[in-house]
């Protein structure tokens, strides 16, 4: 018996193949067998591109300003995004430094770049990478970017530091990072990885 493969979808939670048409209207539905959420294809939105460009620009600005600063005996101490990685290298924590560098700097930046390049390749004749590379890169860097965890860590650090040094304050970098995370999150939400294949 032949099945229209465009009208079925597999639940990767339990391996059940489900008919798509009955749930076409919904963007998200649950597998009848294992209750896992199954997301259907969504339309590509240009908003994703704008958010990704904004993310990259904000990321550049965020690296200029300190995130947290404090004053100890007239010494101004500052924490920057790059500083958190470089200090780990200086203290010979190479594995931790690489993990931190990858999860808070490299993965988020490459994720935004993958989105921007996908749009460029889809709408122009310019081809730098294959569709597969862009699709895989988007999903891989999305999974390994932990910038939202990092912002919670900054808040925890702030509370920790304020107990030791009362002059501790959030600096401009922290507020830029809040906007950056919003743009970064929105660029991922509005982007559909599969659309890079142009089917």
């Amino acid at each position: 018996m032949s099945v229209d493969t465009n009208k079925v979808i597999e639940c990767y939670g339990c391996g059940l193949f489900i008919d798509k048409p009955s749930v076409e209207k919904k963007k998200l539905f649950k597998c009848p067998r294992c209750n896992s959420k199954i997301s259907l294809d969504k339309d590509h939105s240009f908003d994703s591109l704008y958010y990704a460009i904004s993310s990259l620009l904000l990321f550049a600005i965020l690296n200029i300003y300190p995130i947290v600063s404090l004053n100890v005996n007239d010494n101004i101490l500052k924490a920057t995004l790059i500083g958190t990685v470089s200090i780990l290298f200086e203290q010979n924590f190479f594995v931790v430094a690489l993990i931190v560098f990858f999860t808070i700097i490299l993965a988020p930046v490459l994720n935004s770049l993958a989105i921007i390049l996908s749009f460029i390749q889809m709408h122009t004749r310019f081809k730098l990478f294959t569709d597969t590379v862009l699709h895989d890169a988007f999903h891989f860097f999305k999974q390994w970017g932990f910038i939202e965890v990092f912002i919670i860590s900054i808040i925890v650090t702030y509370i920790k530091l304020i107990g030791m040094v009362s002059s501790t304050k959030f600096d401009i970098g922290f507020y830029v990072m809040l906007v950056y995370i919003f743009c970064f999150y929105m660029s991922n939400v509005k982007f559909e990885g599969k659309n890079v294949f142009g089917d």
Partner: protein
């Protein structure tokens, strides 16, 4: 005829059998299930269990004040916050650094063992536990980031200085290993095993 789909790009195919082939859309190899998924994930979880011990025992941070260095591991850090009546931070650090990694390790191990030994846990519960483990995975990195930020900001030589401890490497690897283990595990085999039995 059987249905098989590419886990990478989700394209569905109708084939004669479950033999592997290359996806026409994304060029990845399409298999019925991820190859050696249980073995690889189990090996990573066992490695993470071994790394969890030094991560808890050895110091996570070294604080130097007026030339005097004090090293503290994760649990000692939590206790010091409780002593300073900083309950919120104590709760966050304890949850992110002790409870979450433990839940991940025990949860994954329980799911893997339940595939070979009969347990009362239903498949829906296993999937629920797995999804929860996947969702909380990265949040254990909080402590590593806190140490990194503190070490970068507090640098006043012998007067006031914060350095990472040797547990930081083991702890970071526990987080990464459990995340890769969860990502590599193909939950569809939970339902395959049930059908076999």
């Amino acid at each position: 005829m059987v249905l098989i789909s590419c886990k990478n790009c989700h394209k569905v195919y109708q084939r004669e059998d479950y033999s592997s082939f290359v996806c026409t859309r994304c060029n990845h190899k399409v298999r019925k299930r991820i190859k050696d998924s249980l073995q690889v994930s189990l090996a990573l979880v066992v490695s993470a269990i071994f790394l969890y011990i030094p991560a808890m025992v050895y110091p996570m941070m070294e604080v130097t004040r007026f030339g005097v260095s004090i090293e503290s591991n994760i649990i000692e850090g939590v206790i010091s916050f409780l002593e300073y009546e900083n309950y919120f931070i104590a709760f966050v650090i304890f949850t992110a650094s002790v409870v979450i990694p433990l839940i991940k390790l025990v949860g994954l191990l329980l799911i893997f063992v339940s595939l070979k030994i009969h347990t009362r846990m239903s498949n829906k519960t296993k999937i629920l536990v797995f999804k929860f483990i996947e969702a909380i995975g990265k949040w254990s990195m909080i402590d590593i980031y806190v140490v990194a930020i503190l070490a970068s900001v507090i640098q006043m030589d012998e007067l006031f200085n914060i350095k990472g401890g040797i547990a930081a490497t083991s702890f970071a690897l526990v987080v990464i290993f459990t995340m890769v283990a969860a990502h590599r595990f193909d939950t569809r085999i939970i339902w395959d095993e049930q059908r076999k039995s």
